[in-house]
Amino acid sequence: MTNQNVGFKLLAAAFITFIFTAPILWMVLSAFKTINDIYAIPPVWIPDFTYLDNFKLLLSENWEFLLNSVIVTLGATALCMIFALPAAFGLVNFRFRGQEFLADWILSTRMMPPIAAAVPIFIVFNTLGMLDTLPALILVYAGFNLPFAVWVSMSFFRNIPKEVIEAARVEGCTWFQTFRLVALPLAKSGIATVATFVFIFAWNELLLSLFLTSREAKTFPVVISSFSTVTKTYWELISAATIIQILPPVIFTLLMQRHIVSGLTMGAVKN
């Protein structure tokens, strides 16, 4: 390729990158603006980055909801993996009738729109007196991510050579020992990838938390959505909250980009 050609391509790439990042950046900048500056026309382009009142105000009133989000997300990720990993291992290594069908069915539950299960879930937790509690959210978030975690973990367990598993069995390992001492260590990095995905999915979730929580157990996305009301929108709080909320996904994207395509396509497409 000629130099001129590369220059043109870089220009096009810069334009594309600008389109996909500038909106995010604009919101980030506003987090450091006073309310007056947010409403100023013409806009204030570069804010004073030492102005942190928006963050202080946001966190002084809402830090416990941020904490809720962290607890729910971590709890759901852990619970989800505890159920998903043995199932994925079993679906790859056991031979039984209806095996493929079972795997397909698990995948198909992933596609279910959460809204279709909303009222039954609501009624069950209402009956159990668990509405507006963190355990209810953890249970639901873990469950909704279970199909993803099972299916993608399966692709990592499948990469372990059959001979290794068989050797462990011949040496007298029980299935549980084979799983814990052989399969888990070998699939370690894959498992970490799956867990990180589940973490991000749970972190980003709004709809389920919207109807399962009301006061105590609200997650951060629900709080953020409540800053936009019919009568008034608190942009100074929204922009500060957005920075905090998108930080994990942004870091995730930059660090794990090699895995994103295969993760989001359930392992169907490899980079």
Binding site: L10, T17, I115
Partner: protein, 307 residues
């Protein structure tokens, strides 16, 4: 129903728990299966049951069996029909734009794949797709705000009077589509890149020797190579769009004259704002049936690709 059959597939394992092999299967697989049955099959059956009743979420004890009345009402409810139409327009419009734009973005980044700056820019350009959807909605709610938004300020600079993006019924759905496209084009682009890098450079060189134009290359070399990944991308995006909720919830909330009423949002409102759970459940069942249809196709392709 596919879901119900899953439990019969496990029946042999359940019958003989004495055999250690089978006991292992039980311990490894059954907990996850039960979890999923509780979360998908149970709500489905319960929704079907509720959908045949006139029920209020606030007075569940006083529900009344009404047969298929909810379904009949639903299919003659202009708002529900509108929400189906909007969802269809959103799905088709978003995906078509995503595929076209993603192809050009992928070509640009493919040609820069050895270039350090190009690689850095690519990792930045894919940021939108993992960002929390409500934040994406709010980011654009802020930019496109008619009074303080930067979009209309910049437009006024070139003499254009920007519309009320979310308030004007003519603009609301296209705006939501644009936001959706912004968030998901990078995903489609990454998919296509994964397909494009697998094309051996000898093919490109041969095409060049033959004097092929760029559209020949696209038609005969590139599209065949990425057909399968595009198909997967489209299927997954259809499923995503059937679920789309967050962006609409924080921007238009259905919008004036229901310009952005989507099926998810319709169902949510019926159930949790008007507490009409019988009616809402009928809508939920219809959404589920549509997504089961799409899912059946999706699962077939995903399984084929994974092998």
């Amino acid at each position: 129903m596919a879901q119900l059959a899953a439990s019969t597939a496990l029946a042999p394992a359940l019958r003989a728990p004495a055999d250690p092999e089978r006991r292992a299967m039980l311990v490894f697989i059954v907990p996850a299966v039960i979890y999923l049955l509780l979360l998908s099959v149970f709500p489905f059956i319960y929704s079907v049951y509720l959908s045949l009743h006139d029920a209020k979420l606030t007075q569940m004890a006083r529900k009344k069996f009404v047969g298929f009345e909810n379904y009949v009402d639903l299919l003659t409810d202009p708002l529900f029909l509108k929400s189906i139409q909007n969802t269809a327009v959103l799905t088709v419009g978003s995906i078509a734009l995503e595929v076209i734009l993603a192809f050009f973005c992928a070509k640009v980044f493919l040609s820069l794949k050895e270039n350090r700056t190009g690689q850095v820019m690519r990792s930045m350009a894919i940021l939108p797709m993992m960002i929390t959807p409500i934040c994406v909605g709010l980011i654009f709610g802020y930019i496109l705000n008619p009074t303080l938004g930067i979009a209309n300020y910049l437009l006024s600079g070139v003499g254009i009077d920007g519309p009320s993006w979310f308030g004007d019924p003519a603009w609301a759905l296209p705006t939501v589509i644009a936001i959706n496209v912004w968030q998901w084009t990078p995903f489609m682009m990454l998919l296509m890149l994964a397909g494009l890098v697998s094309i051996p450079s000898s093919l490109y060189e041969a095409a060049e020797l033959e004097g092929a134009k760029w559209h020949h290359v696209a038609r005969w070399i590139e599209l065949p190579a990425i057909r399968d990944v595009i198909l997967i991308g489209i299927i997954l995006r259809v499923i995503d769009n059937l679920k789309l909720f967050d962006i609409v919830y924080v921007t238009t909330r259905g919008g004036r004259s229901d310009a952005t009423e989507l099926v998810t949002f319709f169902t949510y409102r019926q159930q949790f704002q008007f507490f009409k759970v019988g009616y809402g459940s009928a809508a939920a069942v219809i959404i589920l049936l549509i997504s089961i249809l799409v899912t059946t196709i999706a699962v077939k392709y995903l399984r084929r690709m994974q092998k």
